[in-house]
Subunit: 271 residues, 3 copies
């Protein structure tokens, strides 16, 4: 695993263009700044291609779309493909509406994604399978009962889409169709904070810009986010705080995260 | 009063669909998660009905509307009525523009609301009375000089609309046309934090899903929010903090709020 | 310099209408409330003029515009001009797209601005000069190598636009075409927090409503924001926090800022 990815982000300050939901945009921008990158948010179809053209990564998040968002995402995604910069897709609450499913289908047709991140139900919905869960937040139950099924599913989805798949859950999975990593960082509080997934999307965008190996870059971003969650949970317990404190400490942890801490704290298994 | 409402919210994790303003959406989602519920934010007219169909409550907040928001709210509201789930209306800054007044009038015609929450000036505007105040935040003065007038007004508005009326202010009033509760929880800082009303809207949505008696459910939500404000204000003073600290401690307090604390801390008078 | 500007804001509670980006709207509203003012956010073209008509200042921020935002800004700006209330323009990421440049050009044609605030690259873009930087956040390098050039540039831009120019950077410059102030408050963390510029826009709006001399009012707002940043940075270091802590302490500092602290902490040079 690369040992200088955060150092490189802080040196090169990559700009990540996020077309993301208004619920968590502030946290996404602040996480990007805290890890050393920079954020630009722009979603009007008439300007997104230009904005993407000057960015080093693009993150598309399907939460709180308006009717013009799919066009904006398609234009930005094509520009990113033309320019050869990484593109991350987060199919937020995909099972919740036809609009989200159609948008995801359209984007998968028109744009080549470097990485797709979702929870089990969102990623299953991507395959046209029926899903009961909706919402910005992870469902409390697991759609895929057996761990083994998830592993196979991620590998297949990666082969089908050509994208690295990140399935977040109690254990996070990262697969590029051949390799499969399990990351056991993270904490229970993250599923109770809105935007912890969206913040990870941002980090993934930043990490991909500096990754020697993109799959490993994704693994490092997932581990970094999880480790920040653990640091925040510890601090929250120390101070007898609640989710407001956790939220603040999470941003603190991203500020303090570096390659040494990441290497030491990462809990990883390669299959 | 029901003694297990928060326990039930945490057990059943109701999904609350919020069509709300972008200023405070993050806080609303985090308050819902902190109280044990879950939030989904979606406001495109093409998807709102489907999203509402899978939710357990709907919250409509008129702050920062776009031209398509009224249609989205109408569709979501009708779906909620069809499905029989509670619908909350917050006529934010209603006196401020014809657009807001027309939208409220349209929604009151097309949708049956379970509950309407606003400050005195917003609720008066709902009745077509002239109001000077605008803005997301409570006005520093009180439109209705005499406490008694407010009580009558809330009862009448409840009878007229068929909705439980929650009038927030120094003392909060809850009426269903027959019963009238005064809730004396809360603190001065809440009127200086943007979104404290919007967060209460979210809580009201969540509490209504688990309420044996909806009026009492509303009373409990109002008391819970006010009590969280008191806990946050105390903590802010202890730590010599300002409004940033208050904001964080408020979310902490929602995390820690439970039925026992609520019962003990609630300051209530039934007329 | 006026010695009671914050006292007056807290007494008169001016309402500042902000047409601003969704990334930082929550912070802008909370900063306005913390300094004693009040915020109203509304951006639908059909209602903005009415909202502005009841406000005491208008702030236009070009981040995250939709296709209808320019029309909304033009209408609100004209209303503000008719009513004679101060109008602040923040040309966020102006170099990033033709849409932003065209909108700024349109607004400069149709609206008389009291004040324009940006970093060096945004303000240069306003003049049609080529700029490489994009994004909500200040670029790490400086577009204008020599301090002297900046000073001349701000004076000229002020004369050309008729607006007070606030150029934020390591040292902040305020010019009305004749006078030129350098303000050396602030801290490194502010450029790593999204929205520190947008929050200053809000403060500028509030301060202008109570300023005996508008240029001095702008200087006081810039110094107040910078001083709050310094207080937050100190507190962050004391508590060994990161950017989450800084964010919270910044809002705390705005709550605590008063005319006495401002006078004592302001680091100012008039050329």
């Amino acid at each position: 695993m690369q040992r200088d990815i955060l150092k490189n982000i802080r040196e090169h300050r990559p700009v990540v263009h996020c077309i993301t939901n208004y619920v968590t945009a502030n946290d996404v921008a602040n996480v990007l700044l805290a890890c050393g990158a920079s954020a630009v948010m722009a979603s009007a179809p008439c300007e997104v291609a230009e904005i993407t053209a000057r960015a080093q990564a693009l993150v598309l998040n399907l939460g709180t779309m308006t009717e013009t968002t799919p066009l904006a995402m398609e234009r930005a995604g094509k520009e990113a493909n033309d320019k050869g910069i990484p593109v991350v897709l987060d199919p937020v609450g995909l099972g919740g509406s036809a609009f989200r499913k159609e948008t995801a289908a359209r984007l998968l047709r028109e744009v080549r994604f470097t990485l797709i991140r979702g929870n089990a139900s969102e990623l299953k919905a991507l395959c046209g399978q029926e899903v009961g869960g909706i919402g910005l937040d992870a469902m409390p139950y697991d759609m895929l009962a057996e761990e083994e099924k998830k592993v196979d599913f991620c590998k297949q989805l990666s082969r089908k889409t050509g994208a690295i798949i990140v399935m977040t859950g109690a254990t996070d999975l990262v697969s590029d169709g051949k390799r499969m990593y399990r990351i056991a960082n993270g904490c229970a509080q993250m599923s109770r904070l809105t935007g912890s997934g969206c913040m990870l999307d941002g980090l993934l965008g930043a990490f991909l810009t500096q990754a020697e190996d993109k799959t490993e870059g994704a693994v490092l971003a997932v581990a970094a986010m999880g480790l920040c969650g653990q640091m925040a949970a510890e601090k929250m317990e120390e101070t007898a705080g609640g989710m407001g404190s956790f939220h603040m400490y999470l941003l603190d942890a991203v500020t303090k995260m570096d390659d040494k801490r990441l290497k030491e704290g990462m809990r990883l298994a390669l299959e």
